[in-house]
Amino acid sequence: MTALATTVNVLHHAFRAGLADYREMFTWKSWAAGWMVRVIAQVSFFALLGERIGNEQTTYYLLIGNAILVAALTGVFSLNMTTAERWTGTLPLLVASPSSPVIVFSARGSYLAVDGALSALAALFIAGGIFGMDLPWPRVLAVVPLTAVVALAAFCFGTFLAGIVFRFRSINSLVVLTTQVTLMAACGINVPFSYYPDALEWFSRMLPVTNGLLAIRGVFDGADVATILGNAALEAAVAVGWMTIALASFNQLASRGRRDGSLDYGA
């Protein structure tokens, strides 16, 4: 078996393991009546805040931003994969195996990117309908692939963070929460970039969500195709960039853990 075929085989099995995990967590009923209700409530909370303090425009701005944020928050959860492997006691075995752990973690957690994109789109269209937001047909269909790119970028960023957590396991929860709140505060979710200092805008552009959200807002605002595609390409570049950094750093961090014996069992 060639190296590529072996990698594809590992990716395939890790993805199936991830799907099996997910099926244990949710059924269709608990996903729709539990998880989605929570997501729509969160998006509606911000939309109601916009209605209370601003106008229709503010409401829709907050609704779109916070619905798309769901894709990113879910994608970033992929960094919990290392903790899950530690809990189940399979982490040292993974590190000792000939395959790179990052391949297993990224494939096993990739269902989160799919889940994030689906959750965000459902929240956007359901909450959008509830609040009477205009969904321009057929332009609005462009939001579907754009949300997928946002979820993918967040997932790649989460995979990079998984390497950090892999090495410094005690900061797992701190990293998850700080990342989520930072994305919420800095990525143009709640206020436009004109409100931020220039330096913060540059920082935000390197994070997932920012560029993809600008592309999605462009779809709703009737921006020209070149602007939308430009922002989408930047979001895809952010995804590739974070995954490249993850691939480059993960094995080094794992090797250090192997040297100092910190890849033990338990949380």
Binding site: L49, G50, I53, G54, T58, L62, S170, I171, S173, L174, L177, T178, V181, T182, M184, A185, N190, V191, P192, Y195
Partner: protein, 61 residues
């Protein structure tokens, strides 16, 4: 004073052994910035002041 400094040192040690204690220190300011952004950007600086006062003393509202 000795009890205060001993308690402070103990808490620092706890934070070092479990960094999750730092979560409110990191997240509360960012959440505050997020919500004040809403108010200030909507031109509701009166609301920002009310919200900031509320954070200082919720019972005064």
């Amino acid at each position: 004073m000795r009890a205060f400094s001993a308690a402070f040192r103990l808490q620092l040690r706890l934070i070092r052994s479990d960094p999750d204690y730092l979560m409110p220190l990191v997240t509360v300011p960012l959440f505050t910035v997020t919500f004040l952004d809403h108010l200030a950007e909507s031109g509701r600086r009166d609301g920002s002041i009310e919200f900031a006062s509320y954070l200082q003393d919720p019972r005064a509202q």
